[in-house]
């Protein structure tokens, strides 16, 4: 049994509060991580709290310390991520912590950013502060899985979502697919988009479905809408070309005839890629500060994204319907498997009700059998 004054008994509830604060900004902080912080005075009473709202805005520690003011002296900062020690768009947080006269800093996880990566902790310890690390580290890492993945791998955390019928169909033989899933499921997808930095489709989906791809206002600004196209053969009219509510980025390959941009609105952003492989798009998006990207594409692009390691998470809405159809319109195209030993086996699937649908969610990692 843990003693009532053991560090984990004292700090765990505050770290949980800091994680809740951090999560309030989900979908808004990229390229930065989600961070929450609370400040306790010397007697252990709450005197300040804050979270990082979005890139360019003050860091969580600074917000919480500003709220605490002189009450922070001799107190404790509980923060979900190692404080930064470098000058970015805002000054280093370690400086603010030292200036506040704190006695102790409690940290959930190290910042994987190579500009920090333990140096923040070192600097604080070096200045004589007590630094305790690793509280609720797993929860903190999960909350920032997209940020951590982008920092360490150089590409966004990929989420692949599809909706299908009970017989594994994503549309009818004639191409109709609106709507397989129910309104509660579609509302859930809007929320999923709001937690991502970018939403990606191929040109085929633009032609077939003419999607809007927004969070319907759940997130402001809306996630970046990305159209991946080899040829720039895009329709003249499309909902995605209206950029008054959300930005649209046209990512195109080297073989594309750029003359074709003349037929498209000037308001579309452009991204020239060395190839239209998902991995090349992802590397380019990571450089733009995209931590998480949602694939809402057709089967060929989805399979290619899986094969190139650009899918870390799956969300499958299974609508209780039978569509039938000639064998086509399935959620994935070929993955190149020739025996059952090769197929992808997914672990820890979770099932939820979404109105009348079932949502099958598979957390990372997607591993080979």
């Amino acid at each position: 049994m843990k003693s009532i004054d053991s560090p984990s008994v004292i700090w765990t509830p505050w770290m949980r509060r800091a994680l809740q604060l951090a999560a309030l900004a989900e979908g808004y902080t990229s390229p930065n991580p989600l961070v929450g912080a609370v400040v306790l005075n010397e007697a252990g009473r709450l005197v300040g709290e804050g979270f990082h709202l979005m890139a360019g805005m003050p860091h969580a520690e600074v917000v919480a310390l500003a709220q605490a003011g002189s009450k922070a002296k001799g107190g404790t900062l509980v923060v979900t991520l190692e404080p930064c020690c470098h000058q970015g768009r805002t000054p280093p947080c370690t400086k603010a912590i030292l200036n506040a006269g704190l006695a102790r800093v409690v940290i959930a996880m190290k910042d994987p950013d190579p500009r920090v990566s333990g140096d923040g902790i070192f600097e604080l310890r070096n200045a004589g502060l007590e630094v305790i690390t690793g509280f609720l580290e797993q929860e903190a890492t999960f909350l920032n899985r997209a940020y951590v993945f982008r920092v360490l791998q150089g590409r966004p955390w990929g989420v692949l979502k599809w909706a299908m019928s009970l017989d594994g169909r994503t549309g009818l033989s004639n191409g109709l697919s609106q709507w397989i899933s129910s309104p509660p499921s579609r509302a859930w997808v809007h929320g999923l988009r709001a937690n991502c930095d970018a939403v990606i489709v191929g040109s085929g989906t633009v032609r077939a479905d003419d999607p809007l791809l927004t969070s319907r206002g759940l997130k402001d600004p809306e996630p970046l809408r990305v159209v991946l196209t080899r040829s720039l053969d895009l329709p003249i009219d499309a909902q995605l070309w209206d950029t008054s509510k959300a930005k649209t980025l046209i990512a195109y390959g080297p073989e594309a005839d750029q003359e074709k941009f003349n037929h498209l609105p000037k308001s579309l952003d452009r991204l020239a890629l060395t190839s239209t492989n998902p991995i090349d798009l992802f590397k380019a998006l990571a450089k733009k500060g995209v931590n998480s990207a949602l694939w809402e594409c057709g089967p060929v692009l989805a399979s290619s994204a899986i094969q190139q390691g650009c899918v870390q998470e799956l969300a499958i809405v299974i609508a209780p319907k039978l569509l039938g159809g000639f064998p086509q319109m399935t959620p994935l195209s070929d993955l190149g498997f020739t025996s059952m030993e090769q197929v992808l086996v997914l672990k820890d699937t979770q099932m939820f009700r979404l109105g009348e649908d079932w949502l099958l969610k598979i957390p990372f990692p997607i591993t080979k059998a």
Copy 2:
């Protein structure tokens, strides 16, 4: 609030016991229904119970009354189905009830069999017994849904089962499908077979999968294995041709060349059909006393069975795997839909864990949107 001596308070627990007894014979009683009975003496204490074990064996009422003997006098019979009043393979139960000197009979549901259908109740009331009906009628009807459906519709209760991957695949592009689902799921399917009277495949499934289609001994005798074939073009060797553990029935259409039976074992049963439509097979199976039949066939036959009203229940095992493949190997073939308004919408789906798989079950009825 119900009075402590209201009929429902007194008889409902006993009817629940009778239903539990009835269910003990699930899969064994066809063409007869599942029936359970308890006998209480005049003071309301249990003095006998029984259930119908299989066709040709004594009915539940007779078993329970035999156990009660003279203690039944002035007592109550609680029975899940209206007692029969006709001479079948066994004498009418109404006679046994009257001979036992009972004061009261409590019945869950009327027997839809036109030879009974209220006449049993009438006969007992006419003889001066108190007859109370409709206790747990819904539960009793659900338990005997296959029997009721076969009696009223003249065809078995159809169950369609398939196993698929998360991407709606029932096999790889090269035809391999063993095993998509996990051992717990396959064990569950053995139990499903044990509760059915017949298991049906087409000749394509015999060629592609060479299935065994038994309950692996859960039911003895095993369910009847049925191969539906237009042409009688069947492999020389197949696990289904070994009838030492389970019977196999070859159901063939009028265009079949019966000479082809010369290449098959003599132990196979034969059934000549006017057509190989699922509905014609089902009518013929109903005449053979089959109450419930399980479709374990390929997509074309499955779709045809749905279209002809030969599927009342669906059981879908969703294995947490991604198979991919060129667009084929999907669980259903064409259902003839051309708009989303036409597709089958299923209600009251239920989701269960089966090891690492998900089982999506859809109780009847399958209704049009």
